[in-house]
């Protein structure tokens, strides 16, 4: 199983990504798509990343997931650059024989991606404000849940 890992400025299509996961012999596909919310007058979002490190960080998360669950396919796609509300930022998909493996692996990957991959978001609002998004403590807590499983 070689994970599909991509970091790209271009939009992606979760439907196409999900289709890639339906490999022979699987019984379950779980997917997650993250979308830019337009709350509080958000106009656009700029996603910066550490190009030389991002891919290896995602590969490491994928390898951790593959070590924990018997996966038959795994995809991580992350957009970078400028996005607007409604745009898709991230896709995570996992395929396995059984449902809990696929769902848990997908959930693990998106939780760890939030804390262990070098991306940063800057939000620009209709009133002109532009701020770097603060990391949330709940993300660290959600990552930590997996350490005792």
């Amino acid at each position: 199983m070689t994970p599909e890992i991509r970091v790209q400025a271009e939009p992606f299509d979760p439907m196409t990504e999900a289709g890639r996961l339906e490999v022979s012999g699987i019984g379950a596909v779980a997917t997650f798509t993250g979308i830019v919310r337009g709350e509080e007058g958000l106009e656009s979002l700029e996603l910066e990343h550490y190009d030389a490190m991002t891919r290896s960080a995602l590969e490491r998360i994928a390898a951790d997931a593959a070590g924990r669950w018997a996966l038959m396919a795994l995809s991580i796609v992350h957009r970078v650059g400028r996005m607007v509300p409604g745009d898709r930022i991230v896709f995570v998909g996992a395929a396995a024989q059984h449902r809990s493996e696929a769902i848990d692996a997908m959930h693990f990957v998106i939780d760890w991606l939030k804390t262990d991959a070098p991306f940063w978001k800057r939000e620009t609002f209709a009133d002109g404000r532009s701020v770097w998004v603060e990391a949330r403590e709940t993300d660290a807590a959600q990552r930590a849940r997996w350490l005792n499983i």
Partner: protein
């Protein structure tokens, strides 16, 4: 020994550049002492490094602690906690 320093997000903006090559003296041998040494370069650095609880580091593309040794490092990145996904 020369080492490449990378800055991201508001660390980059405060310092006003995204990378530079520096040659710290021998007694600058951890991330903490590197931050002290870099802070002498100007107010942008001091501002960026003022609250170290908000700083994260990667040494040669691996997340590390601020107390980590920088001996032999080729690339050190300084940035805020990540907010992707």
């Amino acid at each position: 020994m020369a080492v490449e320093i990378l800055y991201f997000a508001w660390v980059r903006e405060a310092i006003g550049r995204d990378s530079e090559t520096v040659e710290p003296p021998d007694d600058v041998n951890t991330v903490e002492t590197l931050l002290d040494w870099l802070a002498g370069r100007g107010s942008g650095y001091m501002e960026a490094f003022a609250d170290r609880s908000r700083l994260r580091v990667a040494i040669d593309q691996q997340f590390s602690g601020l107390d980590a040794s920088i001996a032999g490092a080729g690339e050190i990145a300084l940035f805020p906690p990540v907010t992707g996904g």
